[in-house]
Amino acid sequence: MNEETIRSKVRAFITRELIRDEHYPLANDEGIITGGLMDSFALAELGVFVEDEFDVYIPDADLTVAKMDTLDRMVARILQG
């Protein structure tokens, strides 16, 4: 799966399931937790989604606000596998 497909799937998941506003124009470098779009509960949900969708298991040590606050960082981490 290429980077753009991953980005678009993660973006769709975040806006639909976490922000609950599919039309939200989420920027690639926008702070999702520090910007108040969702709280850190969502990191756990993201972990489940990434494993189900991309078969990538992100260890707890990487499921942190510092490492997962933006779409760019999430996509980069998923690409690491």
Binding site: I33, A44, E45, G47, V48, E51, D60, A61
Partner: protein, 561 residues
């Protein structure tokens, strides 16, 4: 065997601390988490470190009765400091630490304001925050690590500097205008609650409590710290911020340490059922558990069912589900369902419940049937009543405000002579519910208070924040709670009027609203709806009605029920 409590009435928490033998190598505390190896503190070491922290606080000039605010993450040092302050007869209060999403300046200002208002003697903070917070705080701010440098002085006062009815510590409960109320509890009240609650469970010598709960909340401070410490049973403690992002860590800890009791707010049942990866559960067993006790927000039957369905393969059974109704003002528990029996579930006619305030049972499949989960009977020492607006007791199955009276109620709201917590010796809880068969059922809050993930949120506090955002008409914002089945809690919605029709401008205002709420509170807004001027419904007296606007918004969003 039920646990033996090493104190008797007339004593204080100092006695309870001093009575812990200093040659006891059983674990008092195990700190564990997702990303660090566990640390075990024996009862001997806990006592030693408490005495050291007390010596450090004494060097800082702390006197009996002085307030010490602990604004720090959930580390061993913070626990030693709390107990060390109790040891001196001083009054500790746990407060939330600074997190990544909060604006540090606003956090410092609110801590400084609280300290000034409550006349705190010292604030204990992290090494990094001591200097910036100290720059604006009215009292000295000391890095908590400094206490570990003190020389332990075994000759410290043991139970002599506090009377049983002296204030032991403060728990903070939310209040309007952002200033939390300090719930002042006496030594006697805390010990009476611990004895009554330990007896009602009953707490056993073989129990192991596992908790991720924050200690700045009554459920965490009492059930997840003082109860095991005073009763001499092990506590396995996880940092709340770690658990929120990595919920499997709780189940791993239960498995590893053969946990038996765990207190959780309702949303946690949904969070864990929905957000733990299957591979994080491999080979875990919950068979050691006696009780997952649901506490601190209205209990949802569906959350229990979701939790059971997901974790039954690990050995979670219906008999392990317990419920307690609790609040800081009663030290902690008001009720408790008997452990080993599932809580009673009643199906009520939802329409008659709303329209007539009557709890009328119907079959589970009936139209408009709503499930209510029992919170159990009152624990020993608590009188409970459901009253009408004139404070007259109501018969069974009539919905009214829950009132309580006990021997472990708060003494006062600290430094708030303007707030009298009592009416004829009763504390009116602000919660609505009914009684049936000697058990309490809680429906929700009387006022517009939102209970989001176990936290009580006053909508007016968030409205005040929204009103400061550029582009929002001041006074034209409304905030309310939206019950959410998926999350098992109330989510926060903001509806505010803006002039601009420009989509990009509106988006930017919406961003700023979300950011301002995140940076200034412990919560985030899930729904932010910006509307045209004139959208908000006013009452005949010209006030914006939260209830009417919530209904209007729900209809516009396609929400029903």
């Amino acid at each position: 065997m039920t646990v033996h409590l090493p104190f008797h009435f007339g004593q204080t928490l100092l006695d309870a601390a001093a009575l812990a033998p200093d040659n006891d190598d059983r674990p008092a505390l195990i700190l564990t988490g997702s990303s660090h190896p566990p640390t075990t503190v024996t009862r001997r070491d806990f006592r030693g470190e408490t005495v050291r922290a007390a010596a450090g606080l004494l060097e800082l000039g702390l006197q009996p009765g002085d307030l010490v605010i602990i604004a720090h993450g959930q580390t061993a040092a913070a626990l030693f400091a709390f107990w060390g302050a109790v040891w001196l007869g001083a009054v500790p209060a746990m407060m939330p630490p600074l997190t990544e999403k909060l604006d540090p300046e606003i956090y410092f200002q609110s801590m400084a304001r609280l300290s000034r208002f409550a006349e705190a003697r010292i604030i204990l903070a992290t090494d990094e925050l001591a200097a910036p917070l100290g720059a604006i705080s009215p009292c000295p701010v000391v890095p908590i690590s400094q206490l570990a440098q003190a020389k332990a002085q075994p000759g410290l006062p043991e139970g002599k500097s506090a009377a049983p009815e002296a204030i032991a510590f403060l728990q903070h409960s939310s209040g309007t205008t952002g200033l939390q109320k300090g719930v002042a509890l006496s030594h006697g009240a805390v010990l009476r609650q611990i004895e009554a609650y330990a007896g009602s469970l009953p707490l056993l010598e073989t129990d192991v409590i596992v908790s991720w709960l924050p200690l700045y909340h009554d459920m965490g401070l009492i059930a997840g710290f003082l109860l095991p410490l005073v009763a001499g049973i092990p506590l396995v403690l996880i940092d709340p911020f770690d658990w929120v992002s990595h919920p499997a860590v709780l189940l791993r800890a239960i498995h590893e340490y053969r946990g038996t009791l765990c207190w959780l707010p309702n949303f946690a049942y949904n969070h864990m059922a929905r957000r733990i990866r299957q591979r994080d559960l491999d080979s875990l067993s919950m068979a050691s558990m006696r009780g997952f006790i649901n506490c601190s927000e209205p209990v949802r039957h569906e959350s229990h069912e979701l939790f059971l369905e997901r974790f039954a393969p690990l050995g979670v059974s219906r008999e392990m589900l317990g419920v307690s109704y609790a609040m800081a003002e009663n030290t902690f528990a008001v009720t408790q369902t008997p452990l080993g029996q599932p809580p009673a579930v009643e199906w009520l006619d939802g329409r008659r419940l709303a329209a007539e305030k009557q709890a009328v049972p119907v079959p589970p499949g009936a139209p408009n049937a709503v499930a209510m989960v029992s919170c159990g009977p009152a624990i020993p020492g608590t009188d409970m009543a459901v009253v009408d607006e004139a404070h007259r007791p109501l018969p069974d199955r009539r919905v009214g405000e829950i009132a309580i009276r006990s021997s472990y109620l708060l003494t006062e709201y600290y430094h708030r002579p303007d707030l009298d917590p009592f009416v004829d010796g009763w504390y009116l809880t602000g919660d609505m519910g009914y009684q049936a068969n000697g058990e309490l059922y809680v429906i929700g809050r009387q006022k517009d208070i939102i209970i989001n993930a176990g936290k009580n949120i006053y909508p007016q506090d968030i409205e005040a924040i929204v009103n400061t955002v550029n582009g929002i008409h001041p006074g034209r914002a409304v905030v309310f709670g939206v019950p959410d089945d998926r999350e098992g809690t109330e989510l926060i919605a903001v509806v505010a009027e803006v002039d601009s029709q420009d989509e990009a401008v509106r988006r930017e205002i919406g961003r700023q609203v979300r950011q301002a709420i995140a940076q200034q509170t412990m919560v985030t807004a899930t729904y932010v709806e910006l509307v045209d001027p004139g959208w908000l419904v006013k009452t005949s007296s010209g006030k914006i009605s939260r209830r009417a606007n919530r209904e209007k918004w729900r209809q516009s969003m396609g929400f029903y029920g």
